[in-house]
């Protein structure tokens, strides 16, 4: 897992707003002034390097990955490389380990994102509304966001290691990281600790949009704090919440660092990222590893699609975003 890498609430619409305002002029292509043409050229020129790098390092490899996934390509048997069509997909999709990892990934994703949403909302309210020590709270909350995931994972690992750890000693027996249920709980806890602040920051951005006078008015009308929260704040924040959920869900689905350090996938705690890594790096099986890469890519695409279509999360290019 990595630090989520963007400010999702900023959208394509917002950013290209300038362009849209001048849409009518665009149609008059023939009549483009020299200045306009220059502007276009400059725009392309300035964007070209970034676009090139992004496409070259993602689009090409994912296509190449698909190509590899259609082959028997195992570094252990270099002379047996051959084209096998979709045999690798049949292998992976009929494999118990894959589905176990898939289930583990879904479990971690759903539980951690759900808990993060609640905790993140609470943290956002504290960060946004606290009367004292606002700087202190915000500074502390940024530490889990910024800290290297592997470092935090080691901290949790040692905390739960019998005899070494302060947390393990609270429990009377056993090594929690070697039992499946407790190990998964610890992985989820580590995820939640690390990313709740990020969720909270995204939600805080939404919170800032809630008009103060609306809250005051509701308060005057005798609405309780809970009513003000559900009736006034939540509806205004809905787009921000959905975007935060989308990003955290996709981020949680990639979980790798915490599992690698905490259990290394033992006792059926592998995520899909772990299992893909293992088949590539331990199994040296580029065919199977690439098949998993493609399947994970598809899974992420489906999740994003579901969010956009079913929940109406404002996606890049849709028209209701950026109009808050």
């Amino acid at each position: 897992m990595s630090v989520s890498s963007t400010t999702p609430a900023t959208t394509a619409e917002e950013l290209s707003e300038g362009g849209r305002r001048e849409l009518p002029q665009k149609r008059a292509k023939a009549a483009l002034s020299e200045g306009k043409r220059q502007e276009r050229r400059l725009g392309w020129l300035l964007c070209a390097p970034a676009a090139l790098v992004m496409v070259a390092v993602t689009a090409y490899p994912i296509l190449y990955s698909f190509w590899l996934s259609l082959q028997r390509y195992d570094l252990k048997f270099p002379s047996e490389r051959e084209f096998v069509w979709f045999a690798n997909y049949a292998t992976v999709l009929s494999n118990g380990y894959w589905w176990t990892a898939f289930g583990v990934t879904l479990l971690i994703t759903v539980v951690s994102v759900a808990v993060e949403l609640v905790l993140g909302m609470a943290l956002a309210l504290v960060m946004h509304r606290t009367l004292i020590g606002r700087g202190l709270v915000r500074t502390s909350a940024l530490i889990p966001y910024g800290i290297v995931t592997v470092v935090a994972a080691f901290s949790w690992r040692y905390a739960w290691t019998p005899s070494t750890g302060y947390l393990a000693n609270l429990l009377s027996d056993g090594a929690p990281l070697t039992e499946r249920a407790s190990a998964l709980s610890i992985i989820i806890l580590a995820e939640i600790w690390k990313t709740t602040p990020f969720m909270a920051l995204l939600l805080m951005a939404g919170l800032a949009l809630v008009p103060e006078d609306l809250l005051k008015a509701a308060s005057m009308d005798g609405a309780s704090a809970w009513q003000r929260f559900t009736r006034v704040m939540l509806p205004v924040m809905k787009p921000a919440i959905l975007v935060a959920l989308l990003f955290r869900t996709l981020d949680a689905f990639r979980v790798f660092d915490n599992i690698y350090v905490l259990t290394n996938g033992a006792n059926e705690t592998s995520s899909v990222s772990m299992i893909a890594y293992n088949n590539l790096m331990k199994g040296l099986n580029l065919g199977i590893g690439s098949t998993m890469s493609v399947l994970i890519f598809l899974a992420v695409a489906i999740i994003a699609f579901v969010f956009v279509k079913l929940f109406g999360t404002a996606a890049p290019g849709s028209s209701d975003e950026g109009r808050r």
């Binding site: 530490i143 920051l201 996709l250 899909v272």
Partner: protein, 279 residues
């Protein structure tokens, strides 16, 4: 939640909530610090606060090539990636926020897609491409994917900042007789600098944090970064547990993060929320 209540009781309530947040956020960090300061004898006592203090673990890691090389790699790779990503990102963000050209929405869409891209999907193909091209286990081999995944972050954050700049000032300055370059240097650059700086911090944190690419695309001290080196620590001898050394190294790579957070808290918060707060 009452917005009107600002009395001492409310202050106490918020104070308690603040305390919960601070404790929640800091305990795992303090625990690693504590482990790194424990002596070998007290390492397994399970105490949160060390009973015996020592700096031996820090001395140990700075004497090993394994850690020092990894630290140099981490710093070098993160700085170069940040520099390139911010430069490319600034160019693109300027174009997106200031210029009108076809394909703009496409670029923004692509960036968003990449921000959501499962990185593990790139591990297999990049491993194979890099081992065939000789990029495997080199700095550029890591810098390239880092730039790619940092660019969406850079473009989004910078575009949001740039949109807040009153560009009309540039025109005004020129009308006052300043040249284009002067207008840019005296008026726009000072306004844009904080946004660029904030973006650089966010991008640096992202690169500093990466584990998956670093563990998959490196194999030696030549390019292995600290998060990966941590998981390969062997301790002073075969039978010595490396807990103390790992903790000390973990603290060392946490220091820059703590410094950023302490000194630039407001900027980081603004950077992460800018797009939503001010469209």
């Amino acid at each position: 939640m009452a917005t009107l209540d600002t009395g001492p009781r409310a202050k106490l309530k918020w104070g308690l909530l603040d305390a919960v947040v601070v404790v929640f956020a800091l305990i795992p960090v303090l625990w690693v610090v504590s482990l790194s300061l424990k002596t070998t004898a007290t390492l397994t006592d399970g105490n949160f606060i060390p009973r015996e203090w020592t700096l031996d673990n820090y001395r140990l890691i700075f004497q090993t090539d394994q850690f020092v090389r990894a630290l140099i790699n981490s710093i070098g790779i993160a700085l170069i990636s940040t520099l390139i990503a911010v430069v490319l990102g600034t160019m693109a963000a300027y174009a997106i926020s200031r210029l009108d050209f076809p394909g703009k929405a496409l670029l923004v869409g692509v960036s968003l897609l990449i921000a959501m891209f499962p990185q593990v999907s790139l591990v297999s193909p990049l491993f194979n491409i890099e081992r065939q091209t000789g990029l495997f286990d080199t700095w550029p081999g890591l810098i390239l994917p880092y730039i790619t995944f940092a660019l969406p972050l850079a473009i989004y954050t910078l575009s949001a900042f740039f949109k807040q700049i009153p560009w009309d000032l540039e025109k005004a300055a020129k009308m006052d007789g300043a040249t284009q370059a002067e207008a840019f240097r005296k008026v726009i650059a000072p306004l844009a600098a904080p946004g660029v700086f904030t973006t650089a911090i966010l991008v640096f944190i992202f690169c500093w944090n990466d584990f998956l690419f670093a563990i998959s695309l490196t194999s030696t001290e030549q390019s292995r970064t600290v998060p990966v080196a941590l998981s390969f620590f062997t301790g002073a001898s075969q039978f010595e547990d490396p807990t103390g050394a790992i903790s000390a190294a973990a603290v060392v790579i946490t220091i820059p993060i703590i410094l950023f957070v302490l000194f630039f808290q407001k900027r980081i918060v603004a950077g992460l929320t800018s797009g939503a707060v001010k469209g």
